[in-house]
């Protein structure tokens, strides 16, 4: 059996990689252990969140599927940090897990040039340092490009107290054979850990004693293509742990696998289990618990904040101390899961395994965590596998272009010691990398790549033409009388007439306030709000751009792939070893490696000049 490309795994990374490959014209095979696990949301029933929402928008802007798929399954949508600036506002949508899975499965099945195969990938075919295909259930499948997106399934085991099972998430089977094959091929594997809370029956919860959390009704959805706002939404509920919950956890801590040595994998600090929170922050009197729907009008609820690997009897006892959960019945118990993944320092910025040509990887296999952190490198690995097949140079996004660039650069340059989560704090050009301008940053690139179809492209052009017209209209002068009237409404005073843009610079003036001063055709509140962001950030954006200009010059200097760092005596030993291992693509990437000093960078510059003479 012969394909152009094979994607191993059909989770959030695998589906984006496979769709990108097929859409870019490659005959593609996607292999999954179980069709029911395609785009399965193994943990929280939501998409987005701070920083993550940006990733979804970026994947969408490039022509990916996650945003559209999330929009089609939304139960609630919310803009986080609504009271803060545009750059740190992120979308988070509660989704119907079943609909999310079904939609994506349908998309895969209806995609031209894409074949879905159920089976277990057992081995990689590698010849002379280049990938040749995979073995699925004993049968050979040939391809010149392979993308590994094995998620948390690789030699995974789930742990609930004393109960340890060789299994994948949610009771799915794990991938038992591939790990040893990868180790044999020399891939540096290691073990990470993550976990999930219990799923409980919706009718066993007393919502009346909890705080109701509603979504936002006046905001756009994830995809730039989704025009409708979400008018019918489901609520979430907020409740808290208490002293009794904490007492039960403390008394049973010797039965917690995290504390008694059963679990060896490295867990994420930003996704702590409830026992971790209670032990590490002993002085906190309570912790938040959000009750979120798994499906629309369904029978199951997700108990966010109560992830645990304590034994079942302890889980029942502690969950039932929480207000509103006194009589709760368990459908699935919380568990921790350990799995094999790769040290991402073995990858190039194109997400290609440096040691094996044509082998790419994405998702939790690369040491990240989260659906969005999987989808983003998923589409990038798909794009780059396709470019490799067509003999084109890699497509790498810079840190000043996209959160995707930050995510991948962090992983392949700095590595990670725990499952990596996106945070806005990681993006040094945060004011420019907003979710509202993701299309402006990336859709033209997606168009050039061939992933943005005509419909998306036309919609992009129309939207941005209007946005630009609004920006120009911000130059319109408004006479003092009108300015003063508006300011007076806000309890402020105006003494001179000014342009719309100048008015917008005042913190108390919103885009909505100035709509009447714009030509009638341009009175679009959403677009005006977006256009106003650049005006409001003004000087701060300029500051950020000054840093970008400097950094970009370093990024534009390529380092030859065949540099013999170990022989460069002027480099300090640590720098030689790190550079040899990571093999940065640019001077900029080299400068971000921990252990490479400014003096080492100067030595590299010297070398580059020598090489050019």
């Amino acid at each position: 059996m012969k394909y152009d490309a094979i994607v191993v795994g059909a989770g959030h990374a695998g589906v984006e990689a496979a769709l990108a490959l097929a859409r870019l014209g490659n005959e593609t095979l996607i292999v999954t252990l179980d069709k029911r696990s395609v785009s399965h949301m193994a943990c929280n029933p939501n998409v987005g969140g701070t920083g993550k929402g940006h990733l979804v928008r970026e994947v969408d802007a490039l022509g990916g599927q996650m945003g559209l798929n999330a929009d089609a399954s939304l139960l609630q949508i919310k803009m986080l940090n609504k009271n803060k600036g545009a750059a740190v506002q992120s979308l988070r949508g509660q989704t119907d897990k079943e609909v999310y899975h079904e939609n994506m499965l349908r998309t895969l099945l209806s995609q031209e040039r894409l074949t879905l195969l159920e089976g277990e990938c057992e081995d990689l075919l590698v010849e002379k340092g280049a990938v040749k295909g995979v073995v699925v259930d004993g049968e050979k499948y040939e391809a010149r490009a392979v993308v590994l997106c094995t998620g948390v399934y690789l030699s995974s085991r789930t742990i609930t107290g004393e109960e340890i099972r060789d299994a994948g998430p949610y009771g799915f089977a794990n991938s038992a054979k591939l790990s040893s094959a990868l180790l044999e091929k020399g891939l540096p594997l290691r073990r990470f850990k993550t976990g999930t809370p219990a799923r409980v029956y919706a009718d066993s919860i007393d919502y009346s004693v909890m705080e109701r959390e509603d979504g936002d009704y006046d905001i756009n959805c994830f995809s730039f293509l989704t025009e409708d706002k979400l008018l019918k939404q489901e609520p979430c509920y907020l409740t808290y742990t208490n002293a009794e919950t904490h007492r039960i956890i403390r008394e049973n801590i010797d039965r917690a696998p995290l504390y008694n040595g059963t679990i060896h994998g490295v867990g994420p600090r930003y996704c702590p289990s409830i026992e971790d929170k209670v032990m590490r922050f002993a002085d906190k009197e309570r912790h938040q618990i959000f009750i979120e729907p798994e499906v629309k009008d369904g029978e199951l609820m997700y108990v966010q904040g109560m992830s645990s690997s304590l034994p079942k009897d302890v889980q029942e006892a502690m969950y039932r101390t929480v207000k509103g959960l006194e009589n709760v019945r368990f459908a699935r118990y919380a568990y921790a899961i350990e799995y094999d993944c790769i040290d991402p320092l073995a990858l190039s910025p194109a997400l290609e395994v440096k040691a094996i040509s044509g082998l790419f990887s994405a998702g939790q296999f690369n040491g990240s965590s989260g659906y969005e952190e999987a989808a983003a490198p998923g589409i990038m690995a798909g794009i780059n596998a396709s470019r490799k097949l067509h003999g084109e140079p890699p497509f790498v996004l810079r840190r000043d272009q996209a959160y995707i660039g930050v995510l991948i650069d962090d992983l392949v340059t700095k590595g990670t010691n725990e499952p990596y989560r996106m945070m806005t704090a990681r993006a040094e050009y945060r004011l420019s990398l907003r979710q509202d301008n993701a299309d402006r940053r990336l859709t033209p690139l997606g168009r050039e790549l061939g992933l943005v179809d005509d419909r998306r492209w036309r919609s992009y052009l129309a939207r941005n033409e209007k946005k630009d017209a609004i920006t120009v209209a911000f130059e319109t002068s408004v006479p003092l009388k009108k300015v003063a009237a508006l300011f007076r409404e806000k309890g402020e005073e105006a003494t001179v007439g000014m342009t719309v843009g100048e008015m917008l610079k005042r913190p108390f003036i919103t885009a909505k306030d100035v709509l009447p001063f714009l030509p009638e055709a341009l009175r679009d509140k959403d677009l005006a709000e977006e256009a106003a962001v650049d005006v409001k950030y003004g000087g701060y954006l300029l500051k950020e751009q000054a840093f970008r200009a400097e950094a970009r010059r370093m990024e534009e200097r390529a380092l030859p792939a065949d540099m013999n760092y170990l022989a460069m005596e002027n480099l300090r030993l640590e720098a030689r070893q790190k550079l040899d291992k990571i093999r940065p693509m640019t001077l900029g990437q080299a400068s971000r490696i921990s252990g490479v000093s400014p003096a080492d960078v100067a030595v590299l510059i010297t070398y580059l000049i020598k090489g050019n003479k």
Binding site: T50, K84, K277, A425, L431, Y540, K543, P598, A602
Partner: protein, 437 residues
């Protein structure tokens, strides 16, 4: 590209000192201080022509030459302005300080060459020079005397970084975890204000910066009629203090400054120490001791054949960090076995004494050391400037904007010793706050 400035000749040596600006703003910054007939605005300056004029700004009013190289025909490929000044560390550093005050950024080690490289301008030799120059910093740190001082300095920088990290991690956590951080109240801004105070204190105590800026204060003390006032007149080269044979001629502290090898020295001639019933003279003697207490260095003067008054000498050594024993009148009594031998009358030994004063206070400094420290001071100044901006906009700007300035502040601190702000901030978020699902 920001406009950068640096001294491009070795400090303190040579007859000419060159201060160089590179970047778009070079000429406009330069013309704020350079005055010359026929030059009013930027268009009046012909590239590649050396002009004589004067540099007026800060405490400086000096004749100097200025030359402008227009991009891309310059060393860095950007607009460059060079000032050629009379040599001497004091003057060139004041000029540099003035330019930085006007908006230029202190160039990082090798930054001119790095820019030249990026603009395709640099030769191999020059690039190798960059690596050496940057390495000089770590070499300098190996030297014992330096590392003691820099060790203390770095410890204080680390402290500032760790305090500021707490401020940033609180603000960042509330942006990335809006739901969980709602209950976390942390006085980030108050903390930041404390950091600012510490930063100001560190900057003002910056040893070389302060000594070069304010000069070294030297108190001349000793018994009456040992030639203290003559010594002052001798080092100054003109008669500043009244000199007579009468004991107790000098009654008050006489101050006069001079520059020796680029370093400013403020001399304080004091009333001679003796037991007297004269009320005015006793007040003068009290002032002598006060001057000795406040000075960076004390010259204890005696006649070269005199016997050392052990009690008085050890009293002075008790309250002054550095005391140099000076044996005067060697033209009459010959050399003594210990201390510095001078003759105020003939000038013999005075040069040696001045060298000793500079050496004892500033140490055996090389140009590289001074550049290193100037770079550290620049980082610190930038950190303070950004922190000020952050604090002043805290109330009005959104927190992600204020964080741009906070970040710039902590990044400037990280430039001193290297390291990564983002990683430490994120580590701090998770160690201090219970966030995450």
């Amino acid at each position: 590209m920001e406009t950068i400035a640096a001294i491009s000749t070795p400090l303190g040596a040579g007859a000419i000192g060159i201060v160089r600006l590179s970047g778009e703003q070079s000429l406009s910054i330069a013309l704020r201080f350079f005055h010359c007939s026929g030059v009013e605005k930027e268009e009046d300056v012909t590239p590649n022509v050396l002009r004589l004029g004067s540099f007026v700004g800060g405490s400086i009013r000096e004749k100097c030459m200025m030359v402008y190289f227009r991009a891309p025909k310059s060393y860095t490929g950007e607009d460059i302005v060079e000032f050629q000044l009379h040599g001497g560390a004091y003057l060139v550093e004041r000029v540099l300080e003035t330019l930085i005050g006007a908006g230029a950024k202190m160039a990082a080690p090798g930054e001119f060459t790095r820019r030249a490289f990026f603009n395709g301008k640099v030769t191999l030799d020059e690039a190798e020079g960059v690596a050496q120059m940057i390495n000089a910093e770590s070499e300098a740190e190996l030297r014992e005397a330096y590392s003691l001082m820099s060790g203390r300095f770095h410890a204080r920088i680390d402290e500032l970084i760790s305090e500021l990290t707490k401020v940033l991690s609180t603000l960042e956590a509330s942006l990335d975890y809006p739901e969980e951080m709602a209950e976390e109240t942390d006085d980030a801004i108050r903390r930041a204000e404390i950091v600012r105070e510490k930063m100001q204190a560190l900057l003002s105590s910056f040893r070389t910066g302060k000594l070069i800026k304010n000069g070294i204060t030297v108190a001349i003390v000793g018994k009456t009629n040992v030639g203290k006032s003559s010594l002052l007149n001798s080092v100054l080269g003109f008669s500043r203090a009244i000199v007579t044979d009468v004991h107790g001629t000098t009654r008050d502290v006489i101050e006069q400054s001079m520059v020796h090898k680029g370093v400013k020295i403020n001399f304080q001639d004091t009333a001679g120490l003796r037991t007297t019933r004269d009320l005015v003279e006793n007040i003068g003697i009290e002032r002598s001791l006060q001057a000795a207490r406040g000075a960076d260095i004390v010259l204890y003067v005696m006649e070269s054949n005199g016997d050392l008054d052990e009690t008085e000498y050890s009293e002075i050594r008790g309250f002054s960090k550095r005391v140099i024993l000076v044996n005067n009148k060697i033209d009459v009594y010959g050399n003594a076995s210990s201390g510095v031998n001078v003759s105020a009358k003939t000038g013999e030994g005075v040069e040696v004494l001045l060298d000793e004063i500079v050496r004892a206070t500033l140490g055996e400094k090389r140009a590289a050391d001074s550049l290193t420290e100037e770079r550290h001071a620049d980082c610190l100044r930038r950190a303070l400037k950004s922190l000020d901006e952050a604090l002043s906009s805290c109330g009005s700007a959104a927190s992600e904007c204020v964080l741009v300035d906070f970040r710039e502040s902590i990044n400037a601190l990280y430039e001193i010793g290297g390291g990564n702000a983002t990683e430490s901030i994120i580590n701090d978020v998770f160690s201090r706050f219970c966030v995450g699902k």
